[in-house]
């Protein structure tokens, strides 16, 4: 896994600190070119790992990456699936089952449709085997990233934490196996409940050394049930931690933020987002400085 992964929240108007900042980001990155310019800047600084959530903008970004393959030789993508708000709005509008049906029908491009139809048939003839639905939904989400070099596929935290809360171990086990087998990639999990998820994946699901991405920052922001509990798990348990929200949406000064992360031993990778060359370079510089 790349040690530094460039995140994408900033491109989609996501900021956990202020609505205005989120709005300003949404305006700044309205045009695809503004996004691809930042990606190029990150690339030029030496970043090779990029995280992308499977939302509508990701489709455009991936089209760009496919078209410019030669400029991004050695690119490693770390998708997170699904895009939760798409489903949230649809589910509110249509209910869970109609949403699944509609997503499968509407996002089914002609090229990959045969496989989906075959699986869809298998689903209905199996009397609603949920693992088949899951495979279908994963396939739909993963179409966005086709022909690109995908290293880890992260299950987005809204889904991970719902499945964790309900204790549905088969979902994690099946997800893990399916991503490995079908996409030849490493399965990963994003969570807001690090200690609980690590215990569940390793002890209940029997997954060895899983990749788990979660907020890890000096403020303890989104570190549930507590910063101390998360730090202890990182120090003691066998898994591959990936740190996100390291700046707590800008609440922690860069130097303090990176120093804190460097002091947490065992962290495999850091996901960070930035929208200017200066901030990208600053973060990279600090990470190098702290790891020396």
């Amino acid at each position: 896994m790349e040690k530094i992964i460039f995140g994408d929240n900033q491109f989609f108007g996501i900021n956990h600190m202020s609505e205005e900042r989120a709005q300003a980001l949404a305006e700044k990155f309205r045009d695809l070119k503004a996004i691809t310019d930042v990606l190029k800047t990150a690339w030029d600084v030496g970043i090779r790992g990029f995280m992308l959530n499977s939302n509508d903008r990701a489709k455009e970004i991936c089209d760009f990456l496919r078209k410019n393959k030669e400029s991004f030789e050695g690119l490693r993508l770390y998708p997170s699936i699904p895009y939760p708000h798409k489903y949230a709005n649809l589910v509110t509008e249509k209910g869970i089952i109609n949403t699944i049906r509609d997503v499968l029908c509407s996002e089914n491009t002609a090229k990959e449709s045969l496989g989906l139809i075959w699986k869809g048939g298998a689903f209905f003839s199996s009397g609603g085997d949920a693992t088949k639905i899951m495979e279908l939904l994963i396939d739909v989400e993963m179409q966005v990233f086709r022909e690109l070099n995908v290293e880890v596929v992260f299950l987005q935290n809204v889904v991970t934490d719902l499945v964790l809360g309900l204790g549905l171990k088969e979902v994690f086990i099946h997800y893990y196996a399916y991503i490995k087998e079908k996409y030849n990639a490493e399965p990963g999990f994003i969570t807001m409940n690090l200690p609980k998820l690590v215990a569940f994946l390793t002890e209940v699901c029997g997954l060895d050394n899983p990749i788990v991405c979660s907020p890890i920052n000096k403020r303890g922001y989104f570190m549930n049930p507590s910063a101390e509990a998360c730090e202890e798990v990182i120090a003691k348990r066998k898994f591959r931690p990936v740190a996100m929200s390291i700046y707590a949406s800008g609440a922690i000064p860069p130097k303090e933020a990176i120093e804190y992360i460097s002091n947490q031993k065992n962290i495999n990778a850091i996901v960070f987002g930035a929208s200017s060359k200066k901030n990208i370079e600053e973060t990279i510089g600090l990470i190098k400085q702290c790891s020396d």
Binding site: F12, G13, I14, N15, H16, M17, S18, E19, A22, A26, H85, A88, N89, V91, T92, E93, K94, G95, I96, I97, N98, G128, A130, I133, V158, D161, L162, L164, G165, L166, G167, L168, K169, E170, V171, M192, N193, K196, R219, G220, Y221, F222, M223, N224, P225, S226, A227, A248, S249, G250, A251
Partner: protein
């Protein structure tokens, strides 16, 4: 160990179930919903005791509490049945489409000393709780006016099939969105003595309103405007914003930040003259288990805590929530439809 039954396993029902299932002292004992892929999935993979109707669940399973997350028009009936079984109740908002009935249910719950909570989740959000405290301490002096807005992009085309598109099921942006906004206003400022200039407007929906606006009048001498719409696609997710004008300053609050403008320094609160800005990242507190937002976890952790400590004058009680139902009924009754 507290045993919970869940009526309705849609999006909110599953979220509540996940949060509560992850609490150390709670057991998800049973659930009821019409048979579907979801219910057979829960039965198979969670080993959940699923019932096709809530009556059978209440009859056959010994429970301590129920969580009701069904379409709004069914809340009153299910709450009444659960009260009949002496269960503590958490019910999704809005509480009851018929406020008179809601008041009757509130009295029964209080008489039986049962915890009775409605899913008005904003009351558990750090920044709105903080603003409530500031208002109580008169940080901006006497309140003169407020603006409360809740906007989102949930309905950006007509969908006749969903229950939220049916008026008599409690669909429409009035009960789905405006209930949150009105409850928040009541939480911060109390129930308005009168509402005027009530307007409901269709944008995409054929049968229900997509926008609600109203002016709230208070005998205490201030006024407020509310604007609620679920048909604004520019919002990535539902967003609530409240602006409060006082004689000595102003507060602007949303889920991410709280901005306080003061006409003069406030030593007591450590605020300076001019703008003072606090971010959620400064105030957020961890939860036992996170599923959707800290406030969603906190409201249920509070519900369980209330049961364990026999606290029955709880936050977001039936009685408080009936006030919102009365205001919504008034807005609907008095509104000009456009």
């Amino acid at each position: 160990m507290l045993k919970g039954g869940f009526v309705g396993v849609g999006r909110m029902g599953l979220t509540h179930m996940a949060i509560l299932n992850a609490q150390p002292n709670v057991m998800v004992a049973a659930a009821a919903d019409k048979p579907s892929v979801i219910s057979s999935f829960l039965k198979k993979h969670m080993g959940l005791n699923m019932f096709a109707d809530y009556q059978s669940m209440l009859e056959q399973v010994s429970l301590d509490f129920v969580v009701i997350s069904t379409p709004s028009d069914s809340h009153a009936e299910i709450v009444e049945a659960a009260l009949g079984k002496n269960l503590h109740i958490f019910v999704e908002k809005p509480f009851s489409l018929n406020p008179q009935k809601g008041m009757e249910l509130a009295r029964i719950a209080e008489g039986k000393k049962l915890v009775n909570q409605v899913g008005y989740v904003t009351r558990f959000h750090e920044l709105f709780v903080f603003v409530k405290r500031l208002l109580g301490e008169s940080v901006i002096g006497e309140i003169k006016h407020f603006k409360a807005e809740m906007c989102g992009g949930t309905v950006i085309r007509d969908n006749k099939k969903a229950w939220r598109s049916e008026k008599n099921k409690g669909g429409g942006c009035m009960y789905d969105y405006a209930s949150h906004c009105v409850d928040l206003v009541i939480y911060l400022f109390g129930k308005p003595d009168q509402t005027v200039g009530n307007v409901t407007q269709k944008i995409f929906s054929a049968h229900v309103e997509d926008l609600v606006s109203s002016t709230f009048l208070y005998k205490r001498g201030f006024t407020g405007n509310i604007l609620v719409t679920w048909s604004d696609a520019s919002f990535r997710k539902p967003t609530t914003k409240v602006e409060i004008l006082g004689e000595e300053g102003k507060i602007v609050v949303d889920k991410y930040s709280c901005k306080i403008y003061l006409n003069k320094d406030s030593e007591k609160h450590g605020f300076q003259k001019g703008w003072n800005i606090l971010h959620i990242t400064d105030m957020v507190q961890s939860v036992n288990f996170y599923a959707r937002g800290n406030e969603y976890s906190r409201q249920l952790e509070y519900f369980i805590h209330s049961i364990e400590t026999a606290l029955t004058d709880n936050i977001a009680s039936f009685r408080e929530s009936v006030m919102t139902d009365f205001v919504l009924e008034e807005i609907r009754r008095e509104s000009t439809e456009r």
